[in-house]
Amino acid sequence: MIVQPVLVVAAALFSLGIYGILVRRNAVMVLLSIELILNAVNINFIMFDTMLADVLMQGQIFTIFIITIAAAEVGIGLAIVLMLFRNRQTANINEFDLMKW
């Protein structure tokens, strides 16, 4: 069974997410790139699960949990972004520097 390529894909997704976090200005996009990371994690879990032929399917269970939590977090995140947007008419995270020192 092919393991490495999948892991590589996961790693790539992970790095992609990191990249996105660092360069995207729009809060939503940043959020999405974090989702990418989470998905990388998911892929990892599934892959390992199948690779190890885990009878308990722990990896998959874990994945399900992650997906739920990710959903919840996206909800929260969007709520916060919305609130911000309502107050400042922008979702550009780089303009949020009211509090410097």
Binding site: I34, Q58, F62, R88
Partner: protein
């Protein structure tokens, strides 16, 4: 939540009672405790460590509620949700403290932190609050995802989720120091490092603290930090016990940096909340130090003992400090504590409380802080290890530096002249807050004069945990 808005204050009363009652089972458990009880395939355990920390979490939450009452009623905030969210965060903390597998602990952490994202942005109209929330949220999620990545690697390596299995597997396969394990350890440390806000994962803390409503900030700086530490302790000693020598060094460096940078930056602050934020960063450095050293020496028991004792004492005095900041900033309406000249004379009680808390944080006997610092130094020097001693010296110097900014506040409120704008204002010190103040100040004194009690808690937790 179903109650009509006007009768929302029932919620408060209800929440308070609920939290208080939830202490009861703990007491019972403690009373007839024989040996650790495992549940759900060893993924959940009830031992003294968990009992003690659950007690701590519940107490903190209780005090936070007391702090919140007036704040919530002072403005148009959703009460029900507020308490609900705090309580669920508490639930997360409770889960963490007795979780024994990756999934449970992850759920616990998420449950503990996710509500805080919302609470930190609770002051909807306030931009600062929003900003704090978004920063907190983004970093929080990132950290969570890093932790997850680390977990996934662990799982992939061992195919287990329960700590005991993982660690035994790692030991048997002698993978304890393999790059993958170390990498996952790093990811976990960084992820949790965010929650306990140690350098360099601390940057969110000041902003979020400043933005969030004060009770939430207090909760953040005490309870979530404690949760983070608990999670860290569990993971490091249960999973990565074998590779202590490696992460030990890292944590030593981190804690040294954290103490120093936190202190030095705190010297610069004029906003009390930010000051407390940085102070709690440097305190985190102190709490981290014993664990770090225990990683190097392998004497986890001692490390846990010191850290837990510190945590318990720190929790209360820090809450108290936030309380006094809350009081004075409400009173003077200024978030620059240099404006607080002589306010202590308006309310000596508040003044005394403030003094006690801040000097306790500075670690001056007979206030609790000294013993917290003391146990840390004790375990550092006890390591009889040059790194430990160096870290101890760094800590000692930091303790002195810290004094400067802690003393500054009480200097301002006692020694400076009362501002004319504050002359006629009357000082509000609501009863719930009084309760919090008295309670925390009592604990602070007791923990300083009879530290035996607290060190005992720390000790038993360490004994029953470090097996």
């Amino acid at each position: 939540m179903i109650l009509p808005r006007k009768s929302k204050y029932y919620v408060a009363a209800f929440a308070l009672l609920g939290t208080l009652f939830s202490l009861a089972p703990l007491v019972i458990q403690w009373a007839n405790y024989s040996s650790p009880i495992y549940a759900f395939e060893n993924s959940f355990v009830v031992d003294k460590f968990s009992i003690i920390l659950k007690g701590l979490f519940i107490l903190i939450t209780y005090l936070t509620f007391l702090l919140s009452i007036n704040f919530i009623e002072s403005d148009k905030y959703y009460q029900g949700e507020y308490y609900y969210l705090l309580l669920s965060s508490l639930l997360g903390a409770l889960i963490v403290s007795s979780s024994r597998d990756l999934l449970t602990i992850f759920i616990g952490i998420e449950l503990a932190s996710t509500p805080m994202f919302l609470l930190s942005g609770w002051k909807k109209g306030d931009r600062k609050s929003n900003e704090g929330a978004i920063k907190f949220f983004l970093l929080g999620v990132l950290s969570a995802s890093l932790i997850l990545y680390g977990f996934s690697l662990l799982y992939g390596l061992s195919g287990k989720l329960v700590f005991s299995d993982i660690s035994s597997y790692l030991l048997s396969a002698s993978l304890a120091n393999s790059p993958v394990v170390l990498l996952s350890a790093i990811l976990v440390i960084s992820g949790i490092g965010f929650k306990i806000s140690v350098v360099p994962f601390h940057s969110w803390a000041p902003d979020t603290y400043e933005g969030a409503p004060l009770p939430v900030t207090a909760y953040l700086s005490v309870s979530s930090k404690a949760t983070g530490f608990v999670a860290l302790i569990i993971l490091l000693t249960k999973v990565f016990a074998g590779s202590g020598s490696s992460w030990g060094i890292i944590l030593v460096i981190i804690s040294g940096l954290t103490m120093t940078i936190g202190n030095l930056v705190a010297l610069q602050q004029n906003n009390p909340v930010r000051l407390l934020a940085y102070s709690s960063i440097s305190q985190a450095g102190f709490i981290l130090a014993p664990i770090a050293i225990s990683g190097i020496t392998g004497d986890y028991q001692d490390g846990i003992f010191a850290s837990v004792t510190y945590l318990i004492i720190y929790a209360f005095m820090n809450l108290g400090a936030f309380l006094s900041v809350h009081l004075f900033s409400n009173y003077s309406g200024s978030s620059n504590f240099y404006e607080w000249g002589g306010v202590a004379r308006k309310s000596p009680l508040a003044g005394v409380l403030t003094t006690v808390f801040f000097f306790s944080l500075a670690g001056i006997p007979p206030l609790g802080g000294w013993f917290a610092k003391f146990v840390v130094f004790r375990s550092l020097l006890g390591s009889a290890n040059s790194i430990g001693i160096i870290l101890g010296v760094v800590g000692a110097i930091n303790a002195v530096i810290a004094l400067v900014y802690y003393a500054r506040i009480s200097k301002v409120i006692w020694m400076d002249e009362l501002k004319s704008s504050n002359e006629e204002k009357i000082f509000q010190f609501e009863n719930p807050l009084k309760v919090v103040g008295i309670f925390t100040v009592l604990i602070t004194f007791v923990s300083g004069i009879f530290p035996g009690i607290f060190s005992y808690l720390g000790e038993v937790s360490s004994i029953f945990f470090g097996n």
